[in-house]
């Protein structure tokens, strides 16, 4: 049981990362390689505000998230939109370039050192006794669960029932038709990038007490988030969540019962096997339009 809780905790983070990746990919058709690093940069901003400028932690985090939204929107508007008509690979290359640039800047500004961000909330962990087994959930883990749940349901609700949500879903299905409905597609893309990047930043900040803040802190999470997205079917938002949680649990059990060092490798092998059985992912439909 305890392993399951750890797994779900990690899985929640994977799910957050996957959700942002999928939102950006579904809406704009771009797989964002720099996604994790954009979150990493925002985590550094949070760290700087907190440690250097003495902001209260919550304010520092908000600053980091706002920064993420802005960098997401600017990237879309000035780096990707101008080359949208060229080719899909051109946009991929841009995000790869972003990845290296962000890493370089992070090294330049904050050096190699690992920095630390504290847990958002501390305090006595929650202890649940079920018959003979004792379950321990730290406050930070609890916060991760709750935040993930709120964000996931909030996002679904927003996309399903609001006008902007409809515009996002319409644009993701057919860019040209959305334009003909009078939907400002550029604005919708900006929204997707801003929101998606904020999710990456949030995941980075939540993970930071464990991973520490350093230029490569999000490399694993980016891979895990991507894997979760593929596992869930990539074009499906619920799939990204299910994929994330499942990957978290698989990794945890592999780590516990097979080998801690190889947990990521084993988890990936399991996923390859799963995908050989069902290539479109758990909740994916066979491809509809988007490249």
């Amino acid at each position: 049981m305890q392993q399951l809780i750890f797994g779900l905790r990690d899985g929640s983070l994977f799910a957050l990362v996957a959700l942002g990746l999928v939102i950006i990919h579904n809406t704009t058709g771009v797989l964002n390689f720099a996604y994790g690093h954009m979150g990493m940069f925002a985590a550094y901003i949070t760290f700087s505000c907190y440690a250097f400028f003495g902001f209260p932690l919550v304010l520092a985090i908000l600053t980091g998230l706002v920064f993420a939204v802005i960098i997401g929107i600017l990237t879309e508007k000035f780096l990707l939109r101008p080359i949208r008509h060229l080719s899909h690979s051109a946009m991929l290359i841009i995000t790869l370039g972003m990845l290296m640039t962000l890493e370089g800047f992070a090294l330049l500004i904050w050096k190699q050192d690992t920095r630390q961000l504290p847990n958002l909330i501390t305090g006595r962990p929650l202890i649940i006794n079920i018959q003979d087994t004792m379950l321990v959930i730290t406050r930070q883990d609890l916060l991760i669960f709750v935040l993930t749940a709120v964000i996931v349901f909030g996002t679904f609700f927003y996309l399903k029932y609001t006008k902007l949500g409809l515009a996002v879903r319409a644009s993701s299905q057919s860019e040209e038709a959305a334009k003909l409905m009078g939907i400002p597609v550029g604005g919708v893309y900006g929204f997707a990038w801003g929101f998606g990047t904020a999710l990456s930043a949030l995941a980075a900040i939540l993970a930071a007490p464990k991973t520490y803040v350093h230029p490569n802190m999000m490399v694993n999470l980016q891979i895990q988030g991507l894997t979760a997205a593929v596992l869930g079917g990539f074009d499906s938002l619920p799939g990204a969540i299910v994929g994330g949680l499942l990957l978290g649990v698989i990794e945890q059990f592999v780590g516990e019962y097979i080998s801690a060092e190889l947990k990521m490798a084993f988890a990936l092998i399991i996923i390859i096997c799963l995908l050989m059985i069902k290539p479109s992912g758990i909740l994916g439909k066979s491809s509809k339009g988007r490249v």
């Binding site: 299905q173 003909l180 409905m181």
Partner: protein, 234 residues
């Protein structure tokens, strides 16, 4: 209402429109006929702002609109119902219609329009929760027209609404267009099916490789020998 003056448009190096001039009068059905690749769809794309003319003017109620973005054009109530329908396949029928009303601010008006569309095409009301991708070709075309009507078009532009439809169904669509004209809407119809289009139109233009080669009242063109030979099958 709408006037094109010497509109020229290029795709890369290919000149798709070589100076198109035409006029659409308010309250009429005007059609643009021509073979595949003659520039019919491109003309519509130039008007709706999906592609921009590099030369020439497009005037809507005497205002130049050739450089406006698509959402700006839609706000002027020029609605382009594209070739091949271009529905949102994963969205439900209802959501497709609501997407069509994206620029509408007045909630009551949206509701009225929705009811009108469902009245016009009752089959859509039955399938309102079904995703658009599961509809038959005819139903999809009805949905495409319905979606365009959700934005209260002043000028409705339809690109080949008869494409791939059984005669009985496209007659139904064309009857709807006549009905819309009676309600005072202006319609610009692009068609390969010249015979059917000329029968419901007031005025017609014929386009060949990017230029208008013939124009006239629809009933006169129906009798014109050149039109008969080329577009009405002799």
């Amino acid at each position: 209402m709408l006037k094109l003056e010497e509109v020229k448009l290029k795709y890369g190096y290919v000149e798709a429109l070589k100076g198109i001039s035409l006029e659409i009068k308010g309250g009429t059905i005007t059609c643009l006929l021509g073979a595949n690749g003659a520039g019919k769809s491109t003309t519509l794309r130039a008007i709706s702002g999906l592609n921009h003319a590099y030369d020439g003017k497009i005037l809507f109620n005497d205002e130049e609109i050739q450089d406006k973005s698509p959402d700006n054009i839609v706000k002027r109530r020029i609605i382009h119902c594209p070739e091949g329908r271009k529905l949102f396949p994963g969205l439900s029928v209802h959501e497709n219609l609501m997407a069509g009303a994206y620029v509408m601010k007045d909630k009551n008006r949206i509701k009225e329009n929705l009811e009108e569309v469902y009245q016009m095409f009752p089959i859509l009301a039955d399938r309102r929760r079904q995703s658009a991708g599961t509809l038959s070709g005819g139903e999809q075309q009805m949905l495409a027209v319905g979606r365009a009507l959700m934005a209260d078009p002043e000028l409705l532009m339809l690109d080949e609404p008869s494409l791939g439809l059984a005669p009985i169904i496209f007659e139904q669509i064309f009857d709807t267009l006549i009905e819309l004209k009676k309600q005072g809407k202006t319609i610009f119809l692009v068609e390969q099916n010249a015979n059917a289009a000329l029968h419901i139109s007031d005025y017609a233009y014929i386009i060949e490789v990017g230029s208008i080669t013939l124009e006239g009242n629809a009933n006169e063109l129906l009798k014109d020998d050149r039109v008969k030979e080329k577009y009405l099958g002799g």
